[in-house]
Amino acid sequence: MANEAVFTLEPGALSSLAPMSIVLATAFLVLLWDVIAKPRDRGILLGFSIAGLALAAIVSLILWSHADPVSHTIFSGRLAIDRFSLFFNLVFSVVATLVLMISRDYLIREQIDVGEYYALIMFSVFGMMLLAAAADLLMLFIGVEAMSIPVYVLVAFNRSRIRCIEGALKYFILGAFATAFLLYGIALLYGQTGTTSLADIHTFLEGSSGSHVLVPVGIALMIVGFGFKIGSVPFHMWTPDAYEGAATPVTAIMATGVKAAAFAAIIRAFLAFSPSLVMFRVVLWVIVALTVVVGNIAAIRQLNLKRMLAYSSIAHSGYMLAALLAIEPIWGPQTSNAMSSLLYYLLAYLFMNIGAFGVIVVVGSRENEAVDVRDWAGLGFKYPWLGAAMALFMLSLGGLPPTAGFFAKFYLFSAVVHAGYTPLIILAVLMSAASFFYYLRVVVYMYMQPSEGACTPTVSPLAAVAIGVSALATLWLGIAPSALFPFLEWAQRSVAVLL
């Protein structure tokens, strides 16, 4: 045959797939256990899923400590099982565990406690892990789809509520649209560079004189695709509707896991495109400015907590995107700084968001979802722990010291300022000051309104643990941020070695 397949199987390639394989196997096990054994109490499926996630996290830790070379690509450079992807494996395991813990009560309350829910979460976590490990645009595409398709189903999961399926349709149409743009961009990049490997694309762009017309068009289309996925302005229209329509635990995973995975892919892709990114600085600048302004201003109007958090997540996407502006054509300390602060920001953002959504889940009931902030009046006095946790998450989202949100913003903004984008960061700081208006409104309603709120929280031990862990993490990341930095540095450095 003329075209010999270029494929090598590196030693240890299969064992480094273990975290993903465990998650996938758990998903299948949960799915089949539910239909074959028909357990009356789905708690066992929850246990299985969490055990699978814990096992995947442990294996990731073992791989982390054994990761002798900082960067390790397998299957001829298709997947990178480096510390970057292992870091994200851990993040996704924790995120999915917390989300599963806050899901349980919601599912029982809405009478949708079926095995498919747990399986779909696991399938989507598999996609996220694949996405974070993608060192090739093909794997990136498969990861995006493997993550998104289960989430489309999850958004529509509560079929009896019309808002759910409406949100699902909107999310699907724009999500599929985004994927199509992403693909078209990938196709053009492939046409010009003749490869889909990120490392090879990086080498090509380094050596090219810049006269390749398809490269900028391809990267631009990919920015549009990614922009949709993370909900940056002007590609954010679906976000509030999908977030509001979806079941609250599903919203939690959309706002955290999906976004973190998308950012993992964006970091890898943008570092690969770094030699050509100079011409996109203005575009990125405008996207960041628009996202920060529109997200924060629109959130001020929202009395619906889920819509408010949707716009808040748009604003946070904007802050995180700003870190990409600091990427230099050649890897240097400035890029390195920006990337570790971005990873730190993601981590802080995950915990405070899951915590906030967790509190919304337990405060709501079947009759009243309690997404209207006016229903929260006086909650802080009746349920002091719940009120304190929500207040912590809100203040952290706003960025008040000494919470995780403050240090996240501090590191990220100073990294971008060092890259010379002071006006943009002044705008971002002003906007995050404005954001206190709507974050504090929740606190004001909880503590400074007469206790007439219609909501009746029911806190199960499982949900309490999840909210407690998120709160502790939010505090710990804020009090001892430097403890985490060595890990983040290893993680981001492993991406650099790949290039």
């Binding site: 045959m1 010999e4 397949a5 494929f7 199987l9 299948f28 799915l31 089949l32 239909v35 074959i36």
Partner: protein, 123 residues
Amino acid sequence: MDNPYVALLFSFSFAIIFSLVFVNLSRIFGQSRPESEKLDTYECGAPPIGNARTRISVKFYMVAILFILFDIEAVFVYPWAVSLRSFVAKGMGTFVFVEMLIFLGMLFLGWLYVLKRGALKWD
């Protein structure tokens, strides 16, 4: 056997012989009780004459979508079958074979789920 089209010839001959044999086997051994319904033009259970733009029962949707999903997965088997020999030559035959078994195993698990969930029950 140098001509690559010999394989195609085999494939066509096999298809023709196979269909001829089975059609005639059922004619020879099968019972034949013709009635007007049976002799009518076959149209997947729908009346063959009339407006084609009528609404179709939603029960078809499940079968159709599952058919599409399982059918399209077969597209992965073709490139695998074509390139298997070159992998065997490189001593990676077992690995590549097991990979396909894993893939088919996952499809099987999917089918098992569909079956146990009752998605293929007509009523």
